[in-house]
């Protein structure tokens, strides 16, 4: 029971991921009534959980290499600090990222416990934060140009374009949910993997390891976030961020999903290794920032008009402020947890 109490902070983080980041995937589809909210919520929940359980190990290893949080109470504080930071950043309307807050919180734990922070891992993570929105923008430009060429030259009936867009939004949304689960579950549950609080589980032919059971719980927490809160966020996303056409929004969701996928896919990593190519680091990246990158990419593809450059500044600010806040909160709460609540926060 105590174990579940301790992982509640991770579940809270999962809930907020479901409420915020998942909304990016279906925001336009739902707010333009192309896809019903209930359909979107069911699709996200299923695929985010599949992604988390079966594709989440790669990014978790990277976070583990950054800081191996080995006590349950410590993991609780790290996840809590990340969750609180996400909440604070949301209040300031910054493109919020659970990734950046969990990294800051882990470094806070490293400082508190006197463990060294692996700088090479940290630099790898920081590099992907900068690289992921840029990559997302590049994908968006390419996909947008392809879509534009098809719409202009293939004389497809308006109804067919809408029908393909609707089907595309569902398929890409499902792919995005899978990628989000695979890439971001490390943020939600990664810090608890070293604490081994759950047993493995047999469901039919499938055996889930204790880490996968933890990820299943995280996936369910994300799903609860989707069902309970994301409808509101989706309508905000639809109205404010995506003042773009359904086809363009399909491009945005596809681009950001591909970015989340390539930074989480162990399969892609092994293919690149086999081909003797440099691999892409498996690092949790921010879905929201990938989305902003893609929206800017579309603006650039349209000739650079209507690009909200303020958003770029906000992302940059988020890179600095989010981990910093999380680090400070994590350090302070760890202190209280250890000295006031008398809990062992590291071994």
């Amino acid at each position: 029971m105590t174990s579940f109490l301790f992982i509640s902070s991770g579940l809270f983080l999962g809930w907020s991921l479901g409420a915020n980041d998942a909304a990016n995937l279906f925001g336009t589809a739902v707010s333009t009534k192309m896809v019903k909210f209930s359909t979107a919520a069911v699709i996200i929940s299923i695929f985010v959980t599949i992604g988390a359980v079966f594709g989440g190990t790669g990014t978790t290893e990277t976070l583990g290499a950054l800081g191996s949080v080995n006590a349950l109470a410590g993991a609780f504080v790290v996840a809590l600090a990340a969750g609180v930071t996400v909440y604070l950043m949301t209040c300031y309307e910054l493109p919020v990222s659970t990734t950046q807050s969990i990294v800051g919180a882990i470094i806070g734990w490293n400082l508190f416990s006197g463990r060294p922070t692996q700088l090479d891992v940290l630099y790898k993570i920081l590099g992907t934060w900068v690289f992921s929105p840029i990559l997302s923008a590049l994908f968006a430009i390419v996909f947008f140009k392809i879509a534009e060429y098809i719409v202009k030259n293939c004389r497809i009936h308006l109804f067919k374009i809408d029908m393909f867009t609707r089907i595309g939004l569902i398929l890409v949304g499902a792919f995005g949910a899978y990628s989000l689960g695979a890439n971001n579950i490390a943020n939600v549950m990664g810090v608890f993997t070293k604490t081994s609080i759950l047993a493995s589980l047999q469901i039919g032919f499938i055996t889930l390891s204790n880490t996968q059971v933890l990820f299943l719980l995280g996936g369910l927490a994300i799903s609860v976030g989707v069902f309970t809160y994301s409808k509101r966020v989706m309508s905000t996303v639809g109205r404010n961020i995506f003042k773009i056409s359904p086809v363009a929004s399909l491009v945005v969701v596809l681009s950001s999903s591909v970015v989340l996928f390539i930074f989480a896919s162990e399969g892609l990593e092994s293919i690149l290794l086999n081909l003797g190519l440099p691999t892409i680091p498996l690092v949790p990246v921010s879905g929201s920032q990938a989305v902003v990158g893609a929206v800017i990419g579309i603006g650039l593809a349209k000739g650079g008009r209507n690009v909200n450059y303020k958003l770029l500044g906000k992302i940059g600010l988020g890179w600095v402020l989010t981990p910093l806040f999380a680090l400070i909160i994590s350090y302070i709460v760890l202190f209280f947890m250890q000295n006031v609540f008398m809990q062992q926060v590291y071994f």
């Binding site: 333009t32 719409v151 109804f159 067919k160 809408d162």
Partner: protein
């Protein structure tokens, strides 16, 4: 239960049918007005039912389009625009019926010296409406071409305006018609004929905005 592909195809067909009917109504209108202007009054009256039949068909298909657009949840974002365009276009069909009926009931006396102007006014005004229908077809199939048709609608509307003014000036400055009532009567009908192009211009503005909204 029909698949989304089937529903979309059905609606596509309905809209095609509807646009065909509008074009048919315009052709019938031009034919009947020419008969009237050429003095073939019996033939004009005999075929008056044609426009009534076409107008009824247009109404039936319009009802189907409305129903399918909303119950099948097709193109939710653009369906308001689609419906607005199609419903506004229905005014052109209604106008065909209304004006032909007025000719039939009021029997305006169009003197020989303005018959050719009336024919030309009808032609230019209907051309504007025809270009509108073509523009609407391209809205569904090749949205980037819509503006080309919108420009043509404006052009023919302007031509029709000039002809309307020309008729009015001729009528009010001539000695061939002494009765002011008859002059006013002819003016009224010239305005009715020019109204096809005015209406086409109004709808073309709606079309233009809708096409901008749809550009990716």
């Amino acid at each position: 239960m029909k698949s989304i592909f089937g529903k979309s195809k059905e609606l596509e067909k309905n809209i095609e049918e509807y646009l065909d009917i509008v074009e048919e109504a315009l052709l019938i209108f031009e034919r009947d007005i020419n008969r009237y202007l050429e003095g073939q009054y019996d033939l004009f009256e005999e075929n008056l039912d044609d426009i009534l039949t076409v107008e009824n068909n247009a109404d039936d298909i319009l009802k189907e389009i409305k129903y399918k657009l909303y119950t099948y949840m097709l193109i939710p974002e653009a369906r308001g625009d689609v419906l607005n365009i199609i419903e506004s276009l229905d005014n052109e069909v209604d106008l065909c019926k209304k004006v032909l009926m007025q000719f039939s009931i009021e029997k305006p006396e169009i003197k020989d010296f303005i018959v050719s102007d009336f024919k030309e006014l009808t032609k230019q005004s209907l051309k504007s409406a025809e270009q509108l229908v073509r523009g609407i077809r391209t809205y569904f199939e090749e949205i980037s071409m819509v503006n080309e048709y919108v420009n043509k609608v404006h052009f023919y509307e302007h031509e029709a305006d000039k002809l309307e003014e020309r008729i009015k000036r001729k009528v009010f400055s001539t000695d061939h018609i002494n009765d002011l009532c008859k002059k006013v009567h002819i003016r009224h009908f010239s305005e009715k004929l020019a109204y096809f192009s005015d209406l086409a211009e109004e709808i073309s503005e709606i079309l233009s905005v809708a096409s901008i909204k749809r550009s990716i």
